[in-house]
Amino acid sequence: MIQSASLLESWTQENNQLASGCKDGQNEPNREHNLFRQRRWSSDFHKLLRKIQGIPPHLDRAQLELSVVYNTCVCFTAQSQFDEAELLLTQTAQRLLQIAGDDPGTSDPSVLWRTALKSVTGTALHRRVLSLLCLQWGVWLAKSRLTAVQDFQEEMSLLEAQSGAVWNDCRAETKEKISNIPILVLDPRRLVDLLKICTAIVQGAERLTEGWSVLSALQAASASPAPRALIAYTHLLSGSCLAHMNRPQMALQCYRKALETDPRCVCALYQSALIYSRLENSQAEIQALRILHSMLLLPSTTEPAMAAGRLLSPSLFLCSQSLSSLLSVPSALSVLHSLALKCVIHSRVSEGVECYLDLLAALQSEDQHGVHAVVSTLPKLPRLYLEAGAALLMARRPADCMALCDEVIGSTLDLLPEKVLLEDPVARRVAGSGEVTEEAENGLVRLLWTAAAYLLQGHCYSQLKDWKQAVTHYTRCINLLVKVHYKDTGFSLQIPCADKDPEQGVDLCVLQRLKGLSLAGRGISFAQIDRLREALRDLQLSRQAHPEGVSARRWYGEVLWRLDRKQEAAACWEQTWSNPIPSLSEALPVYAQELQSGPLLDSAELHQKLQELGPT
């Protein structure tokens, strides 16, 4: 009877068939199909491994066994089955020690691996054990056990140093007997490369604030062989690190490099936009946001492109919290909103209007599709409408603005409270009566929206020079605003933007502003239809409610002039001279700021008048 093929040979063949099938199948374009195949490979490899590990470990078969363990673990890792992979690795290390006859008496992986490595030093198995250790490294990395990774830094560097020599070894071996070498599904050198850069990225992200040491590690990582996207990440992280070190220009350079390296690295673009905003380079920021928005609309950027064609996707190992927060980019709609806001604030009104209209259209279409998830990062819809309305008003499209305001009023008017009673913020903080105040707050917010809508409409009419209508809408606004009362009488309405309580503070500030602006608007309208007395009263009240209002003061002077109280007018004007109308800021909603939309007083004319007055 002839001798049958030995187990070693048949198992090696089986492994090689599986591995080459695995290698060939990696280029499958269909991702889902790939996943399915991966699952099959891993179960096949695991089956083979169970056969091999079903018999006592032996030195002759150790090479094969370690290779199959490697292949199986790679497959497990590719499917994020880290626990299974780790269990397998530990078992293998123990079997390895059985061969050597060592018994560390512990199942602590790091001790096991150290002993195992020591036991095979100088043998052909050393390389295989190192590559398994490499997989262990991957598991640690995926589970964010960075300290364990750090512990093995020394062994890892050994691995790197060997990678060149190891490969030459491999080739020599291959020449000897081609069929008997168990094939690996993934070149361990590639795995080392991948893990190295992933470790550098994760560690960099965790220790961004540490300065130069992290930076140099990242720079070193960026020169190592790695997938394009990961190289881009190293540049991105270098940029963030530099930004932490207060070197925005260098950071920008790094972000640019990241984007040049991988155009899909939109987070670099977003981070640059943030830096530009910090540097107050509004034009650049707007440009960056615009590009970011158009890139986010491309379908390719939102998809994970890294996994394509490779067995192990880098994203398996990049699961650090701080990294993902760094890599996250707001949705296209939020980007569009901030772009719109920036445009309006930095006097690129027409662009801003377009952006707002795009945004509203997108929101509407999403509303129809029932997708609401994205909206949460955006401001509330009425506020968006009001901001868009303000932009339209600034772009001298009062009709459109009025339509938007009507929308806001229509949706909020029915929900308005009869009266909003506000407690003293200090007292409220002590008492902490949550529910009531929340309701009151909601009421206040809705009330402010409606009031702002009326205010904008008043502005629209005054822009159309329909003064009567303007007066009507300003009056509506004022009537709404006076519904807000304070519980504590000792606490007057004189608080400007209080920084102590941000939300309430902003709301109160908006309230005051709206009051001032609506009174001023009504006063100006009265002045236009020559009801100077009412005009004077309103403007006076406006100045009280909102002392910073410039147009109110100028018009106050004008009305005084017309009432022939020229000296007072002149004094008033002199005062306003020094401070021009402030530019828009981001701290407050646009609609609660002076928009320069109403009738303006020509300053030259004022000068002339003053000069006329001078000699007299």
Binding site: M1, S4, L7, W11, P56, A226, R290
Partner: protein, 842 residues
């Protein structure tokens, strides 16, 4: 069929299933009659009644084993086996009688001949007690292992036989071949050199065989029990399927000695494997373990079907009489002294299930065949996923369409309302603009300008003329001083022979190349003339700064080399060559507005003597920074073949290629020009020069100066380092260069074909003449009168005169001439085409 595992020593009840019934044997020591009276064996058979869901007693019987009062009788095992003589399956029970002294053991095998009669079948004596595994196999044969050997006995065997081979760790069983073959397996001891370590022995034929056909040898040690499912002899080779339970908690299926499948089982220490045929649903392996655990494993999928614990014994038979087999599990009844068949399950794990005494502890639901449902699930999942993908793609498309629609509507409304559509610059270009990306493009221009607009100068000044001899080649090189800035494109060097030997100096065929020695120091010779596709890298600032002190502050020097074969030159022993520099003068320097004119400059002589040629290897010591070394380098660059390869890896950065090359054995940096790496291992014949120029992390140019074979070897080893997805392509040379080269080639071909055509034409004629002459000579009479001789001589002389006249004005065959002209005109046409291309280029 299998002994009841009796931990309880008081109870000595063994059961087996036979013909759908359960047989229970009890060794009876009647306490009422006193132990001394007699020792007997009672047996009872039970059948299962479906209605009552219980086993009912069918028959009972008893037999006396020993009449000696002192004998200690025990049941060893009981099993069903084929009685070969009667050709019927019979239940056998093996009992042992220990002698008084305990020194010898008497065994007898009893057969249950009818439903109520036990007959002795074999009787034998052993000097020891059977402690290991004992089996009753077909024959009937009793087989047991003792002390690393296997013994057996049967009615035919006439006494106890021992297998005559020394084996360690024995296993035995039977092959289900037509005529039952009992075999034993073991590890041979001592190990034989040419032999499989697994040894098999067939009891009946008495022959040894390769045991690894049944079980591979690593499994011998760990197999706890095994069962041969099928066996067959094909061409005298044993083919068999075996299932074995190992100590590693696995059930392993072997086919012809290779592992087919494994199944993890939750227990170790298996004792028996039975097989149950459940009919349509396939077969089950029933594995019983030591501590009363039982596992059922599907044969088809080799997946565990179910497992039970606290089992007293497991039997397989058709207890229901329905045509398929079921598993009967008899559970231990803890302490309750009721009948032996109170707690049991009969099941086939696919529909049939009867249980009794299990109470709430209902049989564990049989696991469905896992593989099947897994496959179904996977198929469904993949369908679902592909459906999802299609859906997502559709959604994406709809989104894009919506956007396009929106934008178009916007543009339309804009047009209608007379507003101008505002398209931002990047939108118009369909590009993604970076905010400040317009700095870099200017980077390289100053560098280029540096090379392309040299200062005007009348004639180049020669710095140094040198020559090297390497491998039958002569390299003559020339370094021009920096201020003699002439355009590199038109520069070449040619060699002329010394006019003293011939009346006119002849041009030696040479190949000329131009190199840039960059400004500030001699560090980087950059190949320019043969491959201007090279990106001129700026000189590495750091390195050159170190050399400033020692070197001239010139801006970009030019080195011109010419290489020619040495041997033809040295035919006359000693030779002097003139080196002539050809260069294109700046047109404006002579006549403004006219094209560049070429000028020739004699720059020195090179003298060679065959007697003292110094042929020493070039660049022996690359660490030295002298002019000689630089000249050596230039010579090597000239002599060696050159390839420039673009390595491009779009998805995966290349990493530190330079470092990799340096780490390879034998590569040394050349200090005069650190960009170049020299491989000058003593083994390889020719040196190899490498230069790696990284364009960006994903691209780089590798120029290799070496022999073709070396280049291929190097590339092969490099491929293992490079990422899999990278492309390697030879760098396309600039088009002007390629057309120029084409023209040169075409011209060369033209000249060659002209020469060859003409010479062949004339040679043929000469040949003919020679033949004629030879023939003529043959005619001349050797002897004759002086007059005849004179006449002949005159004729010959006249012929010669005629011929020499003809040779001066040769007449050639018209046909051949036509042929030649045709071929030459073809070649000429090609070269004209090349020239046209070249003209178009320039």
């Amino acid at each position: 069929m299998e002994k009841l595992s009796s931990d309880d020593s008081n109870r000595n009840v063994h059961g087996l299933s036979h013909g759908g019934k359960i047989l229970l044997f009890t060794c009876k020591r009647d306490p009422a009659v006193s132990v001394r009276e007699r020792s007997g064996l009672t047996f009872r058979s039970f059948y299962f009644e479906r209605e009552g869901n219980a086993f009912l007693n069918a028959t009972e019987g008893a037999t006396v084993i020993s009449r000696k009062p002192s004998a200690h009788v025990d049941i060893v095992t009981c099993k069903c086996a084929v009685d070969v003589q009667k050709r019927v399956k019979t239940a056998f029970v093996l009992v042992t009688k220990m002698s008084e002294k305990g020194s010898s053991f008497k065994y007898s095998l009893l057969a249950l001949r009818s439903s109520h009669r036990l007959e002795p079948c074999i009787e034998f004596k052993l000097p020891y007690q059977m402690k290991g595994k004992v089996s009753i196999l077909q024959g009937p044969t009793v087989m047991w292992s003792h002390d690393n050997s296997v013994s057996y006995t049967s009615p035919e065997a006439e006494g106890v036989r021992k297998i005559p081979i020394q084996m360690s760790k024995c296993l035995f069983g039977e092959l289900p071949i037509q005529k039952g073959q009992l075999f034993a397996l073991g590890l041979s001891e001592p190990l034989l050199a040419n032999h499989s370590p697994t040894l098999g022995y067939l009891c009946e034929g008495g022959q040894a065989f390769d045991g690894s056909l049944v079980l591979p040898h690593p499994y011998i040690c760990i197999t706890q029990c095994m069962r041969v499912l099928t066996a067959d002899r094909v061409d005298d080779v044993l083919r068999c399927t075996v299932v074995a339970a190992t100590s590693n908690q696995q059930l392993v299926l072997f086919e012809n000695g290779t592992v087919k499948d494994t199944c993890e089982v939750p227990f170790g220490q298996a004792e028996d494997i039975q097989m149950a045929d459940t009919g349509r649903n396939g077969c089950l392996f029933v594995v019983s373990f030591n501590q009363g655990h039982v596992c059922a494993v599907w044969k088809e999928t080799f997946q565990m079907a179910s497992c039970w614990s606290d089992v007293d014994s497991a039997h397989v038979d058709d207890f229901l009489g329905c045509g398929t087999e079921q598993i009967l599990l008899i559970f231990r009844n803890n302490g309750i002294s009721s009948g032996p068949l109170e707690k049991f399950i009969i099941t086939d794990l696919c529909g049939i299930s009867y249980s009794c005494g299990q109470g709430s502890e209902a049989p564990k639901a049989s696991l469905p065949p896992q593989e099947n449902s897994l496959l179904t699930l996977q198929a469904l999942e993949s369908r679902l996923q592909s459906g999802l993908i299609v859906l997502q793609e559709l959604e994406r498309e709809v989104r894009v369409k919506d956007r396009v629609l929106q934008q178009s509507i916007q543009v339309l409304t804009d047009v209608l309302s007379g507003r101008e559509t505002v398209l931002s610059q990047p939108e118009q270009e369909g590009l993604v603009a970076l905010w400040d990306s317009d700095e870099e493009s200017n980077d390289e221009t100053p560098d280029d300008k540096l090379h392309e607009t040299p200062a005007l100068s009348s004639r180049p000044k020669i710095d140094k003329l040198w020559h090297r001899i390497t491998e039958e080649q002569l390299v003559v090189g020339l370094i021009l001083t920096a201020d003699s800035a002439i355009p590199a494109s038109g520069v070449s060097l040619s060699l002329l022979t010394e006019p003293g030997q011939n009346s006119t100096p002849a041009v030696i065929q040479t190949r000329s190349q131009v190199f840039w020695l960059p400004a500030r120091g001699p560090s980087t010779p950059t190949l320019s003339s043969p491959s201007p596709g090279f990106a001129f890298s700026e000189p590495a600032a750091k390195r050159s700064r170190q050399h400033i002190a020692s070197d001239d502050f010139s801006a970009g020097r030019l080195a011109v080399t010419a290489v020619t074969k040495l041997a033809p030159l040295l035919t006359s022993g000693c030779v002097k060559c003139r080196a002539m520099l050809h260069y294109a003068e700046k047109a404006e320097a002579v006549f403004p507005g006219s094209g560049p004119t070429t000028a020739v400059l004699h720059c020195g002589e090179v003298s060679l003597d065959i007697r003292n040629l110094c042929q020493k290897p070039l660049l022996q010591n690359p660490q030295i920074k002298t002019d000689e070394v630089r000249e050596d380098l230039l010579s090597l660059l000239t002599v060696l073949d050159n390839w420039v390869l673009r390595i491009d890896s779009p998805d995966y950065s290349l990493g530190d290629i330079d470092g990799w090359i340096k780490r390879r054995e034998g590569f040394k940096k050349i200090d005069v020009s650190p960009e170049y790496l020299l491989l000058d291992s003593p083994g390889s014949s020719a040196p190899m020069l490498l230069r790696w120029h990284q364009i960006n992390p994903f691209q780089g140019d590798l120029s290799i100066h070496s022999s073709q074979l070396q280049m291929l070897q190097f590339l092969d080893s490099m491929l293992s380092y490079l990422p899999d997805s990278c492309f390697i392509q030879p760098v396309k040379r600039a088009r002007s260069q390629s057309t120029a080269q084409k023209l040169a080639c075409a011209l060369e071909k033209e000249v060659l074909s002209l020469r060859e055509g003409l010479s062949s034409l004339l040679c043929v004629k000469d040949e003919e003449e020679r033949k004629e002459r030879r023939a003529g000579h043959g005619e001349t009479p050797d002897s004759g009168s002086a007059e005849d001789l004179v006449r002949c001589c005159r004729e010959a002389w006249q012929q010669n005169v005629e011929k020499s006249r003809l040779r001066l004005n040769p007449v050639v065959d018209a046909g051949r001439y036509r042929e030649m002209v045709q071929s030459i005109s073809q070649v000429k046409m090609d070269s004209d085409l090349a020239a046209l291309c070249q003209l178009n280029q320039s």
